[in-house]
Symmetry: C3
Subunit: 342 residues, 3 copies
């Protein structure tokens, strides 16, 4: 789609410098963008690439205009403006509509005429698919689930029964929503399954990554707030609640019944134990291990960064000798006291 | 399904207090259960909710009956009794039977007349599906695999060739059983694939979580014992053996050829290296890192819980200075010896 | 397939000891192989099994021939020779060819006549499938993707649009290639999606494990070099580049824009932060946490192996007291200085 620079500037309330009628057809990185493309400079680290850019226009801050020799859109937050402009430039207008003949749809399912249901999709009884929803190939949607307006579900997604997905949410391939929570009662050395009877309620504008799993609640529901962004291969256990606009990177694992606040960010591989609470605005580093409630906003981390293996082996041994080390210090303190007293 | 309280008490060998003919139609949490629902009190933490419960009946211990003003079933283990009663109350009687017309089934496959094969399921040559097995939509079952009686396989599951799944097992969406183990021989800087020729043998009453992967053996088989419970996104590598009734939470990873005992529990994210042995009744904490055999039953853990990032950074630096720290102590000890000797 | 020992020896440039016309039909482990099978001895640990083996032939080193009473193939690297011989013995000759009638194929897709497209596969516009490629049941291949010669894609794999997969690559069930990278710009407490416009370019002879996810680039591409081997449940984020012949075990996570060298090995659960560089020939231990660039080849590790929980709890407390410990040492050093000076 070709758009005049002026029109893109309007989208982001930016100021055009240079030729406002310049035609933009795509995006590129500062170092690689070609004629007809727009790029952005958000991070000082890349400022050295600006003078030589071949882009037709650059989204940048006021403070960078002096070294820019091409057209520009000046904004306060170039990264955000890039997101908005790239969205306009890459909008797909002709999404398919209707039900593919190979789909298997229950007669009691209700599918809006503006929705799309792709090849081999299976939709069970009493499912509701709202306007403009897109269900790609080979998805399964279980009994009584409700898919909101303009939800986009990619191929091979599995949604169990009685799940609700709020409008404008995006689900990537292979995600599984609503599998049984991991609940068993021990009995004479064996495990007796606890029926998992709750649902999963997903808010609006949520994004769920590829092969991520969100389990249904045991009795009450698992709840994902509006605007939550979840990366690939994340696991959300039964009865977890996640507050609005929290973001979680790949391999995050949240154990059962934990309540996560709003506006949190979880680095990749971070995990929490079950039945705890994480306050709003908590920011967890990658691979952080959370074993108790974090009731105060702020940044938390754990784990020792990798070091050369020979050094690591020595430090592991010393970590194991912690107790002895502390005893040696104590003993030194005692002896010193005696010496000083003498 | 409506059931008299009396009948539910019989299921769990419990004693009814109050109206034995009271009709129960569902379950709820102690704090949220409504009229017609049964709930349970298993954890002292929730005892304060008992006096105000709106449930028609509560499953509880003898010691809690005094503060209970509604009907009750008295048992030794309320959580276990809840599991059994909830199972009765939520039993689904009308599971579908037969082969969906969109399924693609090899002529040499043998499918019991009481089994269900859902839409778009693909079943290859010489597969055997036993009585009352349920294969949901879009599953793939490879050549010569055997699915036992009353096995329930959810949608979008992939089962490679020559896999055996024991009776009453449950497999959740997206699980992959029998992919090639990760085996390569190095040769001149490249990797030569080792054909993975073993199978996966899964016992009875095993539960396998969503998007979990269990690889086939290299020459011999990967073996999962009876009653093993595996959560979502777990990885079991080639030739691993897992003893009966062991349970593993999400993100557990077991490297190749490791033998895990019976009745173990593995917390989320715990991982073991390959070619080791874990004894029966070993209990691993979440994110525990196991690098050698654990030959004694008991609880094991590792990892440092998350702390505020500023504090964490200091401790990481100090961990790195371990060696220096120890040298300073050694030097102090030497000097003190000299001083004392003088 | 029955093959003379002689012919197998030729495959690996090995020397036959014993009956060169001995017929071999399969493989087995040293301890379990039966008549008609070939086995191997690569690791001294198993040498005690050699004298009693029931195999018809053993692949071994010169140094082990004295304790071998059956036929043998002598080579320098028995594990590598086993890989090559097992490949010959288990070659499948009659792979199916053609398009299954239940597949849904765009008219603009180009599928080589020697390729196989299985049941319920969905192939979108402008996809190209090269000669001898195998696309198993229920896969989805998005618009304009290119599948190279002799690529083998197992069931239930999802490939988004504009992905390229080099010849002879293998993709296991449930893998997802080309989902949107995890990119959002913060705006007034919410997240604005950054369109993910790059592709994924996968080299030749790459193997990708079950349920692994490789995200498409944000603007430029995510790149996987020739000969890279990736295990199950691995996550490769947007714009990552992985050098040739690097191998990654299960649960490895590589955050966005990180560049990994060639010939690296990553242990299970190892993770890296984004925007860093890992040199060629870096070997990461299992669960290693990499937070900055590793510019020197070699072995790196982190993490504390599991210990009995009681001991672990004490060490965690002491880790937390690091700062105090160091202060006590400092104080001791000061006092000692005073004492010595006096």
């Amino acid at each position: 789609m070709d758009v005049h620079l002026e029109a893109l500037a309007e989208v982001v309330n930016g100021r055009v410098i240079g030729d406002a009628t310049c035609s933009i057809s795509g995006v590129g990185n500062l170092g690689a963008a070609k004629k007809g493309e727009i790029t952005f400079l958000a991070n000082k680290k890349f400022a050295h690439l600006l003078p030589a850019t071949q882009a037709s226009a650059v989204i940048l801050k006021e403070s960078d205009i002096d070294t820019c020799h091409v057209n520009a859109i000046v904004v306060d937050d170039p990264y955000l403006a890039y997101a908005q402009i790239a969205t306009v430039l890459t909008q797909v207008d002709n999404l398919p509509v209707g039900i593919h003949p190979t789909a298997t749809i229950s007669k009691s399912a209700s599918i809006n005429a503006s929705a799309y249901v792709g090849p081999n999709v299976v939709i069970e009884d009493d499912v509701e698919i709202a306007a403009n929803a897109h269900i790609a190939a080979n998805c399964f949607i279980g009994r009584s689930s409700k898919i909101g307006e303009s939800v986009f579900i990619n191929a091979n997604v599995s949604i169990y029964s009685e799940i609700e997905i709020g409008e404008n949410s995006i689900i990537h391939c292979g995600a599984v929503i609503g599998a049984d929570g991991f609940g068993f009662a021990p009995s004479k050395g064996e495990w007796v399954k606890i029926p998992q009877l709750g649902a999963v309620i997903i808010g609006k504008s949520v994004e769920i990554g590829a092969n991520t799993t969100i389990d249904r609640g045991a009795i009450d529901n698992t709840i994902i707030g509006d605007g939550v962004k979840i990366d690939n291969l994340v696991h959300i256990a039964h009865n977890v609640e996640i507050g609005e606009h929290t973001a979680m990177a790949a391999f995050v694992g949240i154990a059962g019944s934990t309540k996560i606040g709003a506006h949190c960010t979880f680095g990749g591989g971070a995990g929490t134990t079950g039945h705890i609470e994480i306050a709003d605005n908590v920011h967890l580093g990658g691979m952080a291990m959370v074993t108790k409630s974090l009731k105060t906003a702020g940044a938390y981390a754990s784990g020792i960064p990798a070091e050369p293996s020979a050094q690591w082996r020595k430090n592991v041994v010393r970590f194991r000798q912690f107790e002895k080390l502390e005893k040696r210090i104590k003993s030194l303190e005692g002896e010193l006291k005696v010496l000083k007293g003498s």
